[in-house]
Amino acid sequence: MSAETDAGPLQRTPLYELHISLGAKMVPFAGYEMPVQYPLGVLKEHLHTREQAGLFDVSHMGQAFLIGPDHATTAAALEALVPADVLNLGRGRQRYSQLLTDDGGIIDDLMVTRSISAADDGRLFLVVNASRKEVDYAHIAGRLPKSVRLEPAPERALIALQGPAAVAVMAKLSDVATSLGFMAASSGCVGGFDCHISRSGYTGEDGFEISVAADKAVDLAKLLLAQDGVQPIGLGARDSLRLEAGLCLYGHDIDETTSPVEAGLEWSIQKRRRSEGGFPGAKRIQDELTKGAKRRRVGIKPDGRAPAREGTEVLALLGDAIGKVTSGGFGPSVNGPVAMGYVAADYAGAGTPVNLMVRGKALSASIASLPFAPHRYARKS
């Protein structure tokens, strides 16, 4: 979900040595030394994930528990910060939401999971962006009632296994994983290691995110990599996969200046919250939900072969500046350039022709519906 390179010494995830031994090219990312690609290369890593299964080290992301006396109390504490319906989140269910500023801007996007076990009621598991960890934790901790506390879990690693072959791998290694549908989660074993498993990810493919104790992470990753069809995948392909899937990267496609409605994330604001409000920026967001936002995040498909990168200006055919590209590059599965960005609402309809200013030249493009690559989640009703 995020990027940004901060100053200061770089941290390493528990899988750092493994990445090196696999021949990864390491780069600074969100304060961590992370693998941007392995010897396979970004293009093949991307295609491999869509065809078989990719293993991603996402241990840099922030994992934390929100702990209160009961579900209603913890849920209410979180609902004061995010627009999702947390109260009615079922046991073992996961939801995507956003921490909001008082005027409805996005401080971060995050995953919220309610523990599957009744004994753990009152515990929510949060996963936030690496680049926003400190900001998020301070923001949340400073706004909790006395009976609810935030407990970051830096002793945990996070490994994502994504792609159509992920389910067969997990069927072999895990007792519970394959019983989970999309956006469901459970504690369970993977290859004998105690894990917390969710069926979700950041590629648009079916897959799992596996939280495990840091000191077990290398053994678990090696076990997963030893399975048929599993390759390690770096940040380069992670970015092109999520771009084709139409998923936001924090600090690029969403930030404190964008609202969830502008970002096209209103699907993540459930009915009860839309009518009741009670989250930061509710007035603006409710207003945008009824009247529409002035600008919208959209997909943009260049007509030619030239990629349009972040920051590229989007023009109407008559020449008016109507927006900017926030993520753009080459989509290996699309086999052509793909982008997303914000445009004025009048131009946000799929099929609207626009121009992109690339190296001083206007290149023709059109607004496209997202995702570029169809989602293949394992939805169970």
């Binding site: 293009l43 093949k44 380069g236 072969r305 990629p307 290996p332």
Partner: protein, 125 residues
């Protein structure tokens, strides 16, 4: 005999009969990764040493290709436009970018020979 020189921006130039064939080095393509888009200059364009005249984009990023000598573009390589992956396969051969009729052959003196370039790559990577 062709004269072969290299720039600090990782272009190669091979000069024969007053015309230089220009491309990016094998080292450059390996750093870029999978090349997905190439733009070459129009024939007839007057170019100045150090000017950005072509573009090479990988999955990761866009990079300019700087012309190592001044002159006039006399040919550009359509093959790499249609098949950008050629740049990864044969950067210093089939995947040349364009040819320039040299205006001032003395500019070659500022460039490196292969041994000097190899040292430069070792020292900077």
């Amino acid at each position: 005999m062709a004269i072969e020189r290299f720039s600090k921006d990782h272009e190669w130039i091979r000069v024969e009969g007053g015309v230089g064939t220009i491309g990016i080095t094998s080292h450059a393509q390996s750093q870029l990764g999978d090349v997905v888009f190439v733009e070459v200059p129009d024939v007839g364009r007057k170019v100045t040493q150090g000017e950005a005249v072509a573009v090479v984009e990988s999955v990761k990023a866009a990079s300019d290709v700087f012309v190592p000598v001044s002159g006039e573009v006399v040919e550009s390589n359509g093959d790499i436009v249609g098949q950008p992956a050629l740049v990864n396969e044969d950067a210093e051969g089939k995947a040349w970018f364009f040819k320039v009729k040299l205006a001032n052959p003395g500019e070659l003196d500022a460039l490196m020979d292969r041994a000097a370039y190899d040292t430069f790559v070792k020292e900077t990577s």
